[in-house]
Symmetry: C7
Subunit: 275 residues, 7 copies
C-alpha cells in the first residue's frame, strides 16, 4: 500500500533502492510492437513488425537510418524514439565533420545512454519510454546494441524487444551460435523466421514487416518490398518451414500456446499513443 | 482506485508504461468537430464541419493555409491548433528563404511532431490538445498526414478525426482503394460524402462545411461557398445518393444507429472551449 | 468525486480531454457586467452597462480605445482586460510605426488570442479571466470579434457577453439580419435596446451605460453623456417601445421571467473584484 | 467542503470563476486602520486614523508623499503599501526627468494597477495586501483614486477604506454632492467629520489622525499637528457638532449601533502585522 | 481544522486576509532572549540579556555595531539577525563612500524593512525570524526603531522585545515621558532597571547583560564589563531600588506574578537554535 | 506510520536527523552484482561478477579504466556509474594536461565524493544509486577507496560491495593482514577466492568474472579471458581448494547457509534496470 | 498530530516560531561520533573518536587542516563537513593572497555561519547536517568556536559534540576554569580524558582517537599515532586515573549509568551514512 509513495517521481528512490518511474518507462518498451536485431561478423540486420493504425494509413516507421554505417529499430513511444534517432544522426554528422571518419557504433551508444541517464536524475523531465536496437558496422566489424530507458546498454549477438518478443528471443537463443559466421542470406532468413515468431499465427508478408541491412560494402538501407517478398517466397517455397519445424519444435509449441494466453491481453491494453 | 496516482502529470509514467496525460489530450481531439482529409496522386483535399457558437457568429476557422503547397485541418483545442499552424507557417517561410525551394510536406510534419514531443516530457507544459490533418503537394506528389498530441504522425490515403468521425472513416475505408487515381472532381465528391457521414442526419450545405484543395497546378485554397454549393447540388441532383446508398448500405445503417447512441452524449459534454 | 483531481492546474487534462481551469476562467466572464457589440458594413458599436462600486465612485471603465480604428469592450476581471487592451494598443502602435498603415482588426485579434493561449499551457501562469469584444474598421469594412479566455476567437455580426447577456443575445438574434445594411443611427438604437435587455427592469439612462462607435469617417470614440441621453430620449419618446414590444414579445416575457430566477443569484455571488 | 481546493493558489480559478487568493488579499485591506479621501475641483484631501503599537511608539505612517502633486493613503499590509508608494515615487521622478512635466495622476494609477495585476497571475508571488487611496492634482484638476489588490482602480469623489470605514462612507455619501465646489476649509471639515465616524466613540484629536492636502497652489503635504488641532477645535467650538447632528442623524445612529456590533470583532482579530 | 490550509506558505493569504507564515516568524522574535532600547534627544541605548549555551561558552552576541552612528540589538533567529546587520553595515559603507556623509537612521531602517518585505512575497524564501531594535544618531537627533519580520518598522521612544519583554515594556511605559530630556546616566539607569524586569528574579550582573550607547560626541560602542558592573553597583548601593520600588509598584507585582505564569513556559519551549 | 513523511525528498531531514533518500540510494548498491577490491603495497586489484541479461548478450561492463594508473569497479545503477567514471576520466585528463603529472588517487576520490554531495542537497536531483571501488597507484603506493552515494569515502585494504558481498567480506577479513606484502600473484588468488564466495555454489569461470590490475610498472588493465582461466585452473588444480577449506571453514558454512536464506530473495526482487 | 504540517520544508515556520527542518539537521550532529575541543591562551586542541566501517577500512577522517593556523573537527554528515572545510580552506587562501596575512579565526567562523544561513532560507536546499568545532590561533590568541546547522556560532573555552558527548561536557565543565593557563601538555591530558568519557567503557587507544594541536610556534597538525600512544601510556602509568577519579567522581557515576541507558540506543539507530 505504501509503495505508492515512491513511484510517481523519477528523483525518488524506493526504500528497496529502486527507481519505479524508470521501470515503468521500461514497461512502455514491452508495449511497443516487436523489433529484432541480429549480426554476423560482417552484417547487422534490424527488422520489425509493421502496424498500421487502420487500413487507411501507412504503417508507423520504426526503423531509422542514422548514418551510412548505423541504423536503429525502436519499440515503445515512437515520438521519443524519433527524437533520439535524430540526436544520433546529428552526433554522427558532427563527428564526421570534425574527424573525417565515422563515429564508432559503441561510442554513439554510450552517448545515447548518457542522454537517457540525464532524464532519470532531474525532477522536471521523464525517462524516455523507448528501447533502441542499434545496428552498425565499423572497423571492428558489425555490432548490435540495445539501449534501454534506464540509461544502460548491452551488446548482443541477437535480440528482440517489444510485445511478444519472448518467442523471437527463444528462437534466437537456439540459433545464435551460428550467427557469427552466417552469410548475409542466412542472417536474413533467421531475421524473418524470428520475426514470424512474434506474429502469433498471423502470416508474414512483405507488408507487415520491415527489414534493414548494414554490412561490409553495403550501407545501411531498408530492403524494398519486392526484395522482402522474394525472400519470404524463397524460404517458404523451399519447404524450409517443415525442415525448420523439427528444429524449432518446442518453440512452435510455445508460440501457439503461451502468447495467446499471456501476451495478447497486454497488447489489448497497450497505450493508444504507442504503435 | 490507485490509477489516479499516475494521471495528473505528463512526466509521470503509469506502472503499465502509459502516459495518461497524453492520452487525455488525445481525448480532446475526439471532442472537436469532425475534419477529414483524402488524396489522390495529384491532389489533397481537407474538409471539415463548420460549427458556429450561435446564429450571430461566423463559424470557427478550422482549416488553415500554411504555404502555397500545404494546408492543415484541425480537430480539438482550436487555440492550440492555431498556434501550431502559425509555427508551421514560419517554418515554411524560413525554409523557402534559406533554400529557395518549398519545404517537403513530410519534413514539416516531423518538425511538428518533434514540437509536440517536447511538451510531453517537461513538467511545466501540457501536451497540445489538438489533432492536425496536414495535406500538401511536393515533388513526390500529394500527401496527407495526421499529427497527434502524442508526438507521432502517420501518412494516410484518407482519414477522419473528431467527433463522429467513425462513420466517415468507415465510408473512406470502403472507397480509398480508388483514391490514388481519382480525378480532382471525384475526390471532392468523396470528401463531401464522407463529411456528410459525420453530420448524423443533418443536411450538408455550403454553410456547414469547409473544403480546401491543393494539387498539381493549384495552390492550397479554401473553396468559396458558391463552388461548394454547386458541388453539393450537382452530386445530389444526379441521384447520386441513391446509387451510392446501395454501395454504402451498411454504413448508412451504422449512421442512423450508432452515432445517436454513443457519440451524441459525448458531444453534449464537449468542453465548451472546443468547437 | 474524483473530478477534483483534474481541475486545479491549467496544465492538467481531465480524462475526458477538458482543461477545467480554462473553463473556470470563462466562468469569470459570465460574472462580469454585460457588454454588447454589433456592426453594419460601415460601423461597429460597442456598449456596456456601467456599474459603480458606490455612489461615490465613477463607474469602472470597461470600454477602451485601442487605436483610431479599433476599440474593445470587456467583461470579467477588469485588471486582466486592461492589461490586454494595453498590449493591443502597443501592437497597433508598433505596426503603424513599422508599416505606416493600420493593423487589420483580424490580425490583432489573432495576436491577442495567441497571448491567451500561452497562459493556458504554462504551469506558473493562469488563464486570463476576461472576455473581449473587439470592434474595428479596416479596408475590409467594420468587424466585431469575441476573444475568450481559452485562446479562441469568433467573428460576430452582433454579440453579448457578461451577466444577463442571454436576454440581449435573444434580442440580437431576432434582429441581426438587418444589421449589415443598418444606418449608424439604427445600429445605435439596436445597441441601446439590446443593452436594456440586460438591465432586468432597471431603467436605461445615460449614466448606467457607455456606448462607443467606430465607422467610416469616424474614429473610435465613446459617445458623450448628452448624446446618449439624447438617443435614449429620442427612441423612447417616439413610442418606439410599444412598436417594438410586439416584435420582441417573447423576449420581453423572457426578460421579466428568466433573469430574475436564474441570473440574479449568480450576480449576487459575483466575485467582488470583478465589476 | 470542496471549496478549499481552489483557494490556496493565486493562479487557480474556482469553478465559479473566482480567484479566492485575490479576494483574501482584499480582506487584508478591511483589517487595516481606516483611511479616507475626498476632493473638490481644486483640492484633494487624504486622512487616516493613527494607530500606535503602544504608548512608546510613534504611530505607523500610512500617508506618503509621492511627488509635489500626488500623495497616497494606505490601509492593509503596511510593508506592501510602502513598497508600492516607493514604486510610485520612482515612476514620477523618471517621468519628470524624461518629459520635464508632472506625471498625470490617472496615468500613475494605471501603472500601479498593472503592477498589482502581475502579482495576481504568477504562481510564485502573492497579491499585494494593501488598498491605496491616491490623491493628486494635475491639469485636469484634483483627483482621487482607489487602487485595490485585484489590480483594478476606481475614480472617486470621496471614499473610505479599512476597518469601520462603512460609517465614514455613509457620511460621505450624504455629503459628497457638495464636494466638487467645496472650499479647502469645508473639505477639511468633512474629512475630519468622516474620520470621526470610524473612531467609534473615541474622541478625535490631533494625535490620533493624520491629514494631508494637495491643491491649486499647494504642494502635497501632511498638516502639522497644531493645524489639525486648530481645525478640530474650530469645528467643535462652533457648536458645529449639534448643527451637523441633525443633518447626519441617521448616520449617527448607525455609528453608535452598527460598528460596535459588526466591525469591532473584526478588528479584534486583525492580523498583528497590520496596523 | 481548515485553518491549516493557509499557514504553510508565505505567499498564501488566509480567508481573513492574514499571512500566517509572517505571524509565525514574528513568534520567533518572542522566543528570543530579551532586548531593549531607549533614547533621549541626544543618546540612544541598546541593552540585552546575555544567554550562554553552557558554562563553557561565551554568550551569543546580540548587539552589533553597524556604523559609527548606528547599532542594532536583535531578538529571534540569531543567524538571520547577523545576516541583516551585515547588510546594514554594507549599506552604510556604500552610502558614506558615495555621499561622504552618514546614512540617516530612518533611511537605513526603510531599506531594511524593504528587504524583509521581499522575503514575504516570494514562494521560495521564508520571512526573516528576527526583530531588530535599531538605535542611532543623526542630524535630527537620536533615534530608536523596531523592524519586525513583517517588513514594517516603528519609531519608538523606548521598546522591549523578546521573551519576558512585557515586564520591561510596562516599566518603560511608566517612565518614558522623562526620557526625551534624560541625561546619559539617567538613561543608562533606566535601561538597566528595564532589563532587570525581564530577568524574573535572577540578579542583574555585568555578565548576564550587554549595554551599548551612541550619542552626541560618542560613537556607538558596547560598554565594557567594568563600566556596567560599576553602574549596577552605583544604582543599587544608593538604595535606588527601594525608592523606585514605590514608583513601579504595580510593575513589581506584575513582575512576580505574570511572567512566571505565562512567559516562562513559552521560554521552555524555545527553539533550540534560537538563543 | 509518520516516517513516510520524511523519505520522499532528498532535501528533507527526518526528526532523527537522517536523510532517508540517501539511505535508499545506498540500498541500490546492495542490489547490484558483487564487486571486490584489494591491494598490496604495490598492486591494486578490482574484480566483479559478470551478469549477462541473456545468453544473447555480452555481460554489462562494470569495471572501467579511468587513467593509466586508476580504475573503478561499480555496483548499483550502471548508468550512474558510467556517468561518474566518465567524470573521473575527464578530471584525470584535465589534471595531467595542466600539471603534467598524474592526479593522486585520493584527490580524485574527494572530487568524486563532492560531486555526490551536491546531488544530496538539491531538491531537483536525486542521489547517485551506485557504489564505486576506486583502485589506483600513485607516488604513495597502491590505494583502494570506496565512494558511496552519501558523498563519503573510505580507504580500504580490501572491500566487497553489492549483492552477497557479505561472504566475500568475511573471507577478506580473515586474510587482509597478509595483503600489504602480498605478491601480485597471491593478491590475484585472494581476489578470485573472494569473488567465488559471492557466487553461492555457482562455479567460478573466466566468463562469469572480470578482473583488473594496476601496479608498479603495470598500467591499469582488465585481464584477458585466457589469463583468468589460467589462474582459475592453476589455483584449483593445485588442490588449493582443500587446503584453503580448512582455513576458511566457518566462512564456507556461512556461505552455504546464510546467503540462500537472506540474500537470494533480495536478489530476486532486484531492480530490473540494475545488473 | 498537526505538528507534521510544518516540519518537511526549511522555509516553513511552525506556529510557535520554530524551523523544524533546522532542528532535525541539528539532530544529525548528535548522531555523529564524538568530537571535542579545548583551548588555553596559547593552544587549541581538537580531538575525536575514530570509527571505522569495518576491520578492512581505515577510519573516516573527521579532523581537517584548514590553514597553518586553523583546523576543524566535525560531527554529523561527513560529506557536508568535508565540503564546508573545503570552503574554509579556499577562504583562507584567498584572504592570504589578497592581504598577505592570516584570516582571523572569528572572521572565518562568521563566513561559515553565513553560508549555513543561506541553506536555511531557500526552498530548494537543505540545512547542512554537520556541526563544526573550529580551533585556531591568531593575534588575539587561541580560539575555539562551534558552528551549528542553524547558522549560529559560539565561542567556547571547551566543548564536545556528537554522540555521548554529554559525559565529556560534564568532565570539561568541572575542569575548564584551569584551561586558560594550562600548559600544552596539561591541555592534551584533559583532551584525552574528556574523549575517554565518550567511549563508554571502551579503552582509549592510539587507534580509536585522533588528536590535533595548534598553538604558539606550532602550526595546526594531527599528532602521529606514536605520540598519542605515548601520552596515553604516560597518563595512565602515572596512576593519574585514581587521582582523578576522586575529582571527577560524580562524572564517573554518570558515565556508567546514563550513557548506557539513553545514549546507546540513539547510537544504534544512527543514520548509516553518518559515521
Amino acid at each position: 500500500m505504501f509503495r505508492i509513495q515512491y513511484d510517481t517521481d523519477v528523483t525518488t528512490w524506493s526504500p528497496a533502492g529502486r527507481l519505479f518511474q524508470v521501470e515503468y518507462a521500461m514497461e512502455a518498451v514491452k508495449q511497443g510492437s516487436a523489433a529484432i536485431g541480429l549480426r554476423s561478423k560482417t552484417h547487422a540486420i534490424l527488422a520489425c513488425v509493421n502496424k498500421a493504425n487502420s487500413e487507411l494509413s501507412s504503417h508507423q516507421k520504426k526503423i531509422f537510418k542514422v548514418d551510412e554505417h548505423i541504423g536503429v529499430a525502436i519499440a515503445g513511444l515512437t515520438a521519443d524514439g524519433r527524437v533520439l534517432s535524430k540526436y544520433m544522426r546529428s552526433e554522427c554528422i558532427n563527428y564526421t565533420y570534425s574527424y573525417e571518419s565515422d563515429l564508432h557504433v559503441g561510442r554513439l551508444v554510450v552517448q545515447l545512454a548518457d542522454k537517457a541517464q540525464v532524464c532519470n536524475q532531474r525532477s522536471w523531465k521523464r525517462p524516455y519510454g523507448v528501447g533502441l536496437l542499434v545496428g552498425g558496422l565499423d572497423e571492428s566489424g558489425a555490432h548490435l546494441y540495445y539501449n534501454c530507458p534506464s540509461g544502460t546498454y548491452f551488446e548482443y549477438q541477437a535480440f528482440a524487444i517489444g510485445s511478444r518478443s519472448q518467442a523471437a528471443k527463444t528462437y534466437l537463443e537456439r540459433r545464435f551460435e551460428n550467427f557469427t559466421d552466417s552469410s548475409r542470406g542466412s542472417l536474413l532468413k533467421d531475421a524473418l523466421f524470428a520475426l514470424r515468431e512474434t506474429l502469433q499465427g498471423e502470416k508474414l508478408t512483405s507488408t507487415n514487416c520491415t527489414v534493414a541491412v548494414v554490412g561490409v560494402g553495403e550501407a545501411f538501407h531498408v530492403l524494398d518490398i519486392e526484395t522482402i517478398q522474394g525472400l519470404i517466397n524463397e524460404f517458404e517455397l523451399a519447404g524450409e518451414e517443415e525442415a525448420l519445424a523439427a528444429t524449432i519444435d518446442a518453440v512452435a509449441d510455445a508460440e501457439s500456446a503461451v502468447p495467446e494466453a499471456s501476451d495478447a491481453p497486454t497488447d489489448e491494453g497497450a497505450a493508444p499513443m504507442d504503435i
